[in-house]
């Protein structure tokens, strides 16, 4: 896109100070996903209906409690985007047939974890993109099946220890490139965000809200429980994910991929790794230079391609 729309969110001081998302949710203390969600919700506003899939955030609303000032529907692990399809279509029909006024319309927002987004729900997501469904998808990516105790998922990074990759080398697979998979569908918008970069996040949500069609957001969500670190480190780890180049902040619009924040002096990846218990085996009892440099090389290769 040649013309970047003007943003209300020039810096932190321009960020909303309202807090739409209610307190009292059962999410873990220091949840990076909840952090990203409340930032997103403040931008989106309450005229939204969240369509949720099985994951940590299923428990956001446990009878009779809900943190949402807007609406919510729990579906199932594989089909939240299909639920969004049903609601979007029904609202369109009701407005077209003049059974409700335009003022009653809602933004339809899918909210799933990485387990659903990267795996079981991918087919349903692909379907909505091929049908050009007008909706927003938010994946809170904590890199594992968090709600069941952090087993590895298709979003788990190489070498991470999870409850199903407890061995000395951790997870043998590699994190799936969901951004590329989504972008290959040529939807209206794809972006990566993280709660620790609220201005970047706000601008992207703001931009997405001005568009029609499928708008897809992946929020890396540092997870004190699953990644094994002190909850107070959530924002610091998030910032390091960006500074070390582990989590590139980028967006896809009109066939182009734009990096919204390029870490010019990238910090070594181990600065990010060593804060997390899930990578402890890379440093103790002795340093696993092979694995650490393997991870560093992957990041370097990625950014060399971007910077060149």
């Amino acid at each position: 896109m040649s013309e970047v729309p003007m943003t209300r969110y020039k810096s932190l001081k321009h960020m909303p100070s309202t807090r739409l998302l209610g307190t009292g949710t059962p999410m873990c203390a220091g949840c990076g996903g909840l952090g990203a969600l409340h930032e997103i919700y403040d931008i989106l506003g309450e005229k939204t209906v969240f369509v949720n899939a099985a994951g940590c955030m299923t428990l956001m609303s446990v009878y009779p409690f809900t943190p949402f000032r807007g609406s919510w529907l729990y579906t199932a692990m594989a089909s939240a985007p299909a639920g969004a399809q049903g609601i979007r279509d029904a609202l369109d029909i009701l407005i077209e047939k003049k059974r409700i006024s335009k003022a009653e319309d809602l933004q339809v927002v899918v909210l799933t974890g990485d387990g659903s987004a990267y795996g079981m729900g991918l087919s349903a997501t692909s379907g909505t993109m091929e049908r050009d469904l007008d909706y927003l998808y938010i994946c809170y990516d904590n890199e594992g099946y968090g709600n069941t105790g952090q087993q590895f998922s298709a979003a788990t990074p190489h070498a991470a220890k999870t409850s199903t990759s407890m061995g000395p080398r951790g997870f043998s697979g590699f994190k799936k490139d969901l951004f590329a998979i989504w972008a290959a569908h040529k939807p209206a918008y794809v972006a990566t965000v993280i709660g620790s970069e609220p201005v970047d996040l706000a601008r992207k949500i703001e931009k997405a809200m001005q568009m029609k069609g499928p708008r897809m957001i992946i929020a890396l969500s540092p997870c004190p429980t699953g990644w094994d670190y002190d909850p107070k480190e959530t924002v610091e780890i998030g910032k390091l994910a960006v500074k070390t180049g582990v989590w590139p902040l980028k967006e896809y619009i009109n066939g182009e991929i734009i990096h919204t924040k390029i870490p010019r002096q990238r910090q070594p990846v181990e600065e990010y790794l060593k804060l997390q218990g899930r990578f402890k085996h890379l440093f103790e009892p002795q340093r696993n230079e092979t694995l650490i440099s393997k991870l560093q090389n992957k990041i370097d290769t990625y950014w060399e391609n971007i910077e060149s």
Binding site: V51, T66, S71, T75, A82
Partner: protein, 424 residues
């Protein structure tokens, strides 16, 4: 009203059209596909003011159907067999949402081995989901019951999805004369869908289908759904009476055919039950006091209606076009549960037939009546019987020999391992 020739699939499509359906999420599967083809055509040519979306699976299809119903529009969808099973998780889920809509299921046997032809194992698998079930035996019933199903689903006392079931091939692809109600009369009968407060609106936020922790609130919600399904019996009678008044065709939760002074009865559901009617006529011609009792509703299960209808009957032949592995016929089991402990309970003989579309011949109906009569005389039901002939097994042996099942192993009744694979 005009009378015209329609297939069962055509009748189902007409039902959705006459009910002024707003939304149809769809996915193709044999033998249901003609329904969505007909609807898609009508929509394309402006004959229906409906939005249709082809989803990427039945699981998504039922999710979208439930979500749209929970947003406040009238929804129809259709599937069959493997599709119904693929959607199984969502059948339970959307029923729990209390999302009313109508789903046509065109019954087809389940894999493996995969087949295209009809039996009821797909629909009985959905038995406990919270969907109400109406079973049809003619194309006319398919159309009429689709209209009735919308009333049933959307009634305040029910507010649950309803499956209208018809058999693949024997109804889906078979044309019969069907009386088509006037569009205006049908619309008047079905009325407007009132979603009440279960809907998504900007001015009235709602969190639908939230989680529960603890068995107590869970028990409450689940049992309320059960009670709503049970209300279906009363509501069905009301809306069916209203239908009869308007259109002249009366439907019951359990249909009786020549049951007045019957001593014996066939009990079966689906399109083959018209063959049972034919058998009843022929048996009556030969002096038998026999009738047919056909449940239209499998869920809610019309226990009282069965008890009333069958209490004076001496012997029953239940014919199941399904098989619960390790138990037998599902209708048999349920009927036994309904009749056990009743004074003068009939002797109930169980037959499993028509699996995968296998024909049930007139002679077999006669023989089943005979078996049921003998059971009454002996005061004891025989072992459940699969309708399967010596000749069929002979034909099977021929197929097996092509499949290189070793001939000398055929007919061996032990599962002893003869030391690995002896096949060519």
């Amino acid at each position: 009203m005009t009378r015209q020739l329609l297939t069962g699939n055509g009748a189902a499509a007409w039902g959705a059209r006459l009910a002024a359906t707003d939304y149809i999420p769809a996915f193709p599967i044999t033998p249901q596909t003609e329904i969505i083809e007909a609807l898609a055509n009508w929509i394309d040519y402006g004959e229906m003011d409906t939005r249709m979306v082809t989803m990427e699976s039945e699981h998504s299809m039922i999710t979208a159907a439930g979500a749209a119903a929970a947003t406040g529009v009238r929804v129809f969808s259709a599937t069959s067999s493997q599709g119904l099973l693929y959607a199984m998780e969502m059948l339970y889920t959307v029923a729990g949402w209390r999302a009313p809509f109508v789903l046509t299921n065109v019954s087809r046997g389940l894999a493996a081995p995969i087949t295209l032809e009809s039996d009821h194992n797909d629909i009985v698998a959905a038995r406990d989901s919270g969907f109400l079930q109406l079973h049809c035996s003619t194309c006319q019933e398919v159309l009429d019951n689709t209209l009735i199903a919308f009333r049933l689903a959307e009634d305040k006392r029910v507010r649950l999805p309803v499956i209208v079931n018809l058999d693949g091939f024997y109804l889906s692809f078979t044309r019969e004369p069907v009386e088509l109600p006037e569009a205006s009369a049908a619309k008047e009968y079905v009325g407007e869908y009132d979603p009440e407060n279960i809907q998504f609106r900007a001015s009235a936020p709602v969190s639908q289908a939230v989680a529960v922790l603890g068995g107590s609130p869970y028990s409450y919600f689940r049992y309320e759904t059960h009670l709503a399904v049970q209300n279906g019996l009363t509501v069905f009678n009301e809306v069916a009476d209203e239908f009869a008044e308007k259109f002249g065709r009366q439907y019951k939760t359990v249909e009786a055919y020549r049951m007045e002074d019957a001593e014996l009865a066939f009990v079966m559901m689906g399109s083959f039950s018209t063959k049972a009617m034919e058998a009843v006529d022929k048996l009556r011609d030969s002096g038998w006091a026999i009738g047919l009792c056909r449940p239209r509703m499998l869920r809610p299960f019309p226990i009282k209606q069965f008890q009333e209808m069958l209490s004076h009957i001496k012997g029953i032949a239940v014919i199941d076009q399904n098989i619960s592995m390790g138990m037998g016929g599902v209708l048999h089991t349920e009927l036994m549960a309904a009749m056990y402990g009743q004074p003068d309970a009939p002797v109930i003989s169980s037959f499993i037939g028509g699996l995968g579309g296998r024909d049930i011949t007139m002679e077999e109906f006669f023989e089943m009546a005979n078996t049921a009569r003998n059971a009454v005389e002996q005061g004891q039901a025989p072992s459940p019987r699969l309708l399967y002939s010596e000749n069929e097994l002979r034909e099977m042996r021929k197929l097996q020999s092509i499949a290189k099942v070793e001939r000398d192993e055929l007919g061996q009744s032990s599962g002893e391992n003869s030391g690995g694979n002896t096949h060519e």
